[in-house]
Amino acid sequence: MSSLLTRAESRAAVLGGVIAIAAISVAIAVPVTALLWRGTTGEAPDLGFDSYLLRVTRFTLLQAVLSTLLSVALAIPLARALARRPSFPGRVWLLRLFAVPLGLPPLVAALGLLTIWGRQGAVNDLLTGLTGGEPFSIYGLSGILLAHVFFNLPLTARLLLLGLERLPQEYWKNAAILGLGQWTTFRHVEWPAMLQPALAAASLVFMLCITSFTLVLVLGGGPAATTLEVAVYQALRFDFDPSRAVFLAVIQIALTIAALALLRLTGGRDDVSELMVTGQARPDVHGRAAGLVDMTVILVAALFVLSPLLATLVAGLSADLPRLLTEAALWRAGLTSLGVALCAALLSLLLALLLIRARLQMPGLGAQRTKHGLDALAGAAGSLVLMVPPIVLGAGWFLLFRGARGSILLPLILIIIINAMMALPFVMRVLEGAYRTAMSRNGQLALALGVTGLSRIRRIDLPALARPLGAAFAFAMALSLGDLGAIALFGNDRLVTLPYLLLQKMGSYRTADAAGMALILATLCIGLMMLADRSVSRQRSGTQKNPQKNKGRMP
């Protein structure tokens, strides 16, 4: 790409990138340094505690591996069934539904899952009614796996479906002409197409599960099912044992780095939002029995994802919503949440834009070395964010400021920073591609017209990016709104967000209130996600006059 920025603009972009990198490094390096410093100067943890540490690490890995295996193994038949049934009624809605868990607050999901799968839930009722046996327990490993599959099965299925639908139409025609059986088609056509996305999805799911906090906190049920993230939080808020928290945090960072390396190795960078909602015709698929099997798989998956959401809706509506909506505590928490989410999303967007702009201004300024250095640094800044999960980041700040108890502003700012960092990788992902496209489309024009500097950003770049910016913003807000990690560390009676208030209501056994609040929180987050989804798809349909067709890509 030739330079599409003027010299001054390039310089400004580089400067912006440097500022963003510096800001991110400070936001992450400072708390990590605080952790390490505390680790080397603080007292070493007792020897008797080593086996606990070992077990927590082992369990963290175990649940992540099992969650990953389950999610991917179940996603394979699901994606296959979805690809084989390209046009059943409601397919578009089902695929939209599969995007919902991504933005659903984990705490809300945990409540919904408890309603369906708990001892008093519909599934247990059915099972004990049928078999007369003891009800099974959702707490512990089973509950954690259930919740992780709920979140990651739809995501993985979407990634695999994308892999299948990228195949040229001719593959299916040929399979039909050759009369290949299901198994042969799977082995020679479907599986090779799914393998790469499956690996990518697996490493992504592993990464998400290894840093899972809220689900484990609520569904873990005790020390036997505790992950490092939860143990770090407990060491700080339960035991007030900084040295223990530090050791756990360091192990967590090591694990995340390993997971990140895995993610890079498998090239896990697929963009789920590119999923086509209408599938390809499948002349190779025929037979009633096969159709029945496919539709059963799809139906079961839909029920699995839909039931906790419906449970949240039903329980929420039966709560005393009018009274709940007059509660000052709810409004305070709601305003705090929205304020935090707004600031975090803006900060995240700003950092992402600065980084992307710096990375994409390629030739034209200074020696090649500087640019490579900057590009690498910007990339490293992005990875740094992933390396240090929110709870660990929070733990570092927490130790640095002794819980940040004195004022209300300091913990607020810390929560905003942590949430902004959390959202940054997602925001970068949404914006980077869009920015590249917009630049290549408008760059020459802007140069030719002589529109430069701020006025160019305002008149040309931002309007062109409005939709992806909106999408990234909405998604970042949804993430921040649903976050319990940072607020669990810094929250107190004066600083309460919606998820924190929800957790308190659950704790004090005000289940009806909790259900009502879960509905409110879910509505906010899902609404934002839909906004994000719509602006992305509208962007695509609005700008792509000739949607890419697979014709002419005959192998």
Binding site: D46, G48, F49, S51, Y52, R55, V56, R119, Q120, E134, S137, Y139, G221, G222, P223, A224, T226, Q234, R237, F238, D239, F240, R332, L335, T336, L338, G339, V340, L342, C343, L346, L350, R402, G403, R405, G406, I408, L409, L412, I416, R458, L462, P463, L465, A466, R467, L469, G470, A471, F473, D493, L495, Q504, M506, G507, S508, Y509, T511, L531, S535
Partner: protein, 340 residues
């Protein structure tokens, strides 16, 4: 999203966001007392609302409750906040924690005449005043369990399909109570007992409220609570469905206490509250709201339901000093056994 939104002024939105995020300043009253306590104390069905009304009627002040998950969480919070703790009184620690609480250096002698206090073992302390007491017990749902365990041993060794909800000893005084109870009975074999009991534990909650909520909603047929808990169901719900199991080895005793913070903004008001705490007005509210036994003999009769409760033949209790010396090691032992 319309493209206009992209023309936002960043600073204005940031300012708006921060303003929205900063909770509104509380309304100011003439005098104000903040009491740190545990969640169930301030619940609408707990003693908090009645006690607040009664005290405010005589102090012309504003009494504010701040509830945390449970009693041990109170101590954790104090350790964390140190001198910045914005309260006058801390209510809801128990005798197991008093040595450690004193070691924080955050409390000062209450200087209040505690002659009226009558609690088992005649606990008396210059820093902490008892306000109620009770014995821990396993409360069970008689519709789900026909033969409840008759001893701690039977609880530990019983059918692992019959679940119990317990509380985390790192945050909850009942949770810590069970840990000490098992230690008292099993001694050096406590870790083995926990390893065995572990399979019966449905979940470990941070506080008593959540555990009891799970129990009454039917998630588990047993919960760790108090011998006095069934009285609530008999009085408020007129049902004998929920009962406490009497254990042969005896029951661990809990004496709940309150103390005065050195950094109390209005010490006189804080002392006034502690004096009020030992008065009839406060004490008479305790049995039928906190469902514990009053620390001072009350003039009114207890409801008949209290006569039907399990009366432990043996009270078990560690000296505060012993708990302070061993709490961390015993909790690590518990963590180890429970995480196997």
């Amino acid at each position: 999203m319309p493209s206009k939104t992209t023309n936002f002024t960043l600073s204005a939105m940031l300012a708006a966001g921060l303003a929205a995020a900063t909770p509104l300043a509380a309304q100011t009253a003439d005098r104000e007392l903040t009491v740190y306590t545990y969640e169930s104390f301030v619940a609408e069905w707990g003693p908090g609302p009645q006690i607040e009304a009664a005290f405010e009627a005589q102090c012309s002040c504003d009494l504010k409750w701040v509830g945390v998950a449970d009693g041990v969480a109170l101590l954790n919070r104090l350790k964390l906040e140190g001198e910045e703790a914005a309260a006058g009184v801390v209510l809801g620690l128990d005798t197991n924690l008093v040595t450690e609480a004193k070691a924080t250096g955050l409390f000062e002698a209450h200087g209040i005449d505690a002659a009226a206090v009558e609690v088992p073992g005649d606990f008396a302390d210059d820093t902490f005043l008892p306000y109620d007491y009770g014995h821990f017990a396993v409360v069970y749902d008689s519709e789900a369990i026909a033969a409840p365990p008759a001893s701690l041993k039977e609880l530990v060794e019983g059918d692992s399909n019959q679940k119990i909800v317990i509380q985390d000893p790192r945050t909850s005084t009942p949770g810590l109570g069970l840990l000490l109870w098992i230690k008292k009975v099993y001694g050096d074999d406590a870790a083995a007992a926990w390893s065995q009991l572990k399979d019966r534990v449905l979940t470990v909650t941070p506080g008593w409220s959540e555990a009891y909520g799970l129990f009454t909603s039917g998630e588990a047929p047993m919960v760790l609570s108090y011998t006095t808990s069934p009285a609530y169901h008999m009085v408020a719900e007129e049902t004998d469905r929920y009962q406490a199991a009497a254990f042969d080895e005896g029951h661990y005793l809990q004496i709940e206490v309150a103390g005065l913070l050195k950094a109390a903004p209005d010490k006189e008001l804080a002392r006034q509250f502690l004096t009020f705490m030992l008065s009839q007005e406060f004490q008479q509210v305790i049995p039928t709201t906190n469902w514990m036994l009053p620390a001072v003999a009350i003039e009114a009769d207890l409801p008949d339901a209290f006569d039907k409760l399990v009366k432990p033949a043996t009270s078990l209790l560690y000296e505060p000093q012993v708990v302070a010396e061993n709490r961390k090691a015993w909790i690590d032992e518990w963590l180890n056994a429970m995480s196997k």
